[in-house]
Amino acid sequence: MQNKILKKDRIAGFLDHLAASHNLIAPVSEDKAFTVFKKVLSAAEVDLNFTNTLIPPKNYFFPAAEKLFAFSTNGGDIIIEEPQRSEVSVIFGIRPCDIKSLSLLDPVFYGAFPDTYYSSKRENTLLIGLSCREVLPTCFCKAFGTHPTDGVGADLMLTDLGNYYLVEILTAKGSSLLERNTGFFSDETTDSAVLEKELLKDKLSADFIRKPDLSGVKQILDKVFEHPYWGELAAKCIGCGICTFVCPTCHCFNMIDTSRPDASGSRYRCHDSCMFPGFTKMAGGHNPRPTKVERVRNRFMHKLKYHLDRYNLEGCTGCGRCIAKCPVNIDISQIITNIREVVKDD
């Protein structure tokens, strides 16, 4: 692995250059209230003073609403047209937990029937990661084996070390991007930068407030499908679905048609939520998950057991967004901790 240095005074030039040559997606502050990933045309739009974005970068690959195809009629024939495929993109500033979330979504969107909407973007997008500078009270990525400075899954990993960024080149794609932009990077020795990053890593490691222990949790969940604990959790839940809305690994969607009087229209897919009662309700009225108890249980089983059963990958990254946003303080890191105690009481 090779490293470079990017001086702080060159970052704006680098981002401007990326925006000119690629579809650049980067963190943008919305009214100084929250940060989201958005397409940017210049470095001036980018906000690098963020902890993490409100909405995960998953939404670039799997948008909240996405056109699947348009249809129209020509004489007696119906014509179905796919939308244009994505251009070559760069996501700049993606945090380690969110880089990991994409690797957890990949087996869902590939698999036996690869989803071409997702795959065309995934394969045409370069990920430039950015180490965290701060651990939030809701963060617990470490429990899932991720560290706030990990670049695994990114093409380039940047770490802010004061006056400069350490740039780690992690893939051939990342390397060739740098070769096309050599002017922005210095070739000076990176030994002290690597050491500084190690110090930052140690500091951040000690900053975690939440330290849920996942060992044995899956084995417990294998046995507690029928347990009053789910009812207790569900009693608090108001079914608002915000946890699924902000989650970087939730992938549920609905498909909806629109039409115009001239018999043309489109089919869209839109994010949906397993927390809503209509999600599993069939036309005849039968609903396999009729109450909040089944729905809450399904969400946490999915994150901590079903995803592991199916793909041998955890369904949660420990980003903490659902903890921060839940209006009634349902807390997945607490559930991981509590489930052990709950079983002990039996």
């Binding site: 249809f71 698999g111 039409s259």
Partner: protein, 279 residues
Amino acid sequence: MTSNPLLPHIATIKSIRQETDDVKTFQMVFDDQAVAENFVHKPGQVALISVLGEGESTISITSSPTGKGFLEFSIKKVGRLTSVLHELEAGAKVAVRGPYGNCFPYEAMKGKDLLFIGGGIGLAPLRSLIDFVLVEENRNAYGNVEVLYGARSRADLCFKEDLFNKWPSCKDTKVYTTIDREEPDWCGHVGFVPAYLEELKPLSTNKLAVTCGPPVMIKFILRSLQKLGFTDERIITTLEMKMKCCIGKCGRCNIGSKYVCLDGPVFTLKQLKELPPEF
């Protein structure tokens, strides 16, 4: 470019048969010959039918793959899209994608006797396998076939032509039909399907039972089959769940870590007992 599994293909409704007050069988043919040739289904699989601008629904393929060049779907009018479908006439354009899901274990069934038990619209998915087994080219590969089918009334029986003419005339095939209550011009059996099954007492030796119907019927059928000596791995059923993508991504047809659209819809009772009771 890789093919896009979410794109449906245009098909034309060639004919519509009214089975009951609220069930119609639609025969459909793909407009594009190449699409038709690529669509190779197995008994028990499902497809998605779209009325563009209205939506899409998952429907079991009612016709056997041995019937070439067309697909049949028997559809009960229960929701929004099926109501729109019921308004269509022959010649109307729809869009179809699939086939999806696993299938009945028609290879492992070879050499075995088969007992089919259906209730109401539940006969629709079984029909793809019954016709597959009874077609002349396959008939000798399978043992005796019994079909036990019931509906609320005579008017609610689907596939009357198959039940009363086609299937009974096939080699080593018996068809038993029942309706829930007495009717003036009905001289057949009267009573619920599970009770009739216990009356008929079919032998379970070298036999597989394949069943589909309303949940309450299935509950009692499973009990009766076990009483008759059918073990859990020799009882096969096919499930219905709400589905949108049918390719394991939209997240709504899961039972535990299994997706009914990919790992089902066909399960043995043994497999179902290993899943959480959430279907």
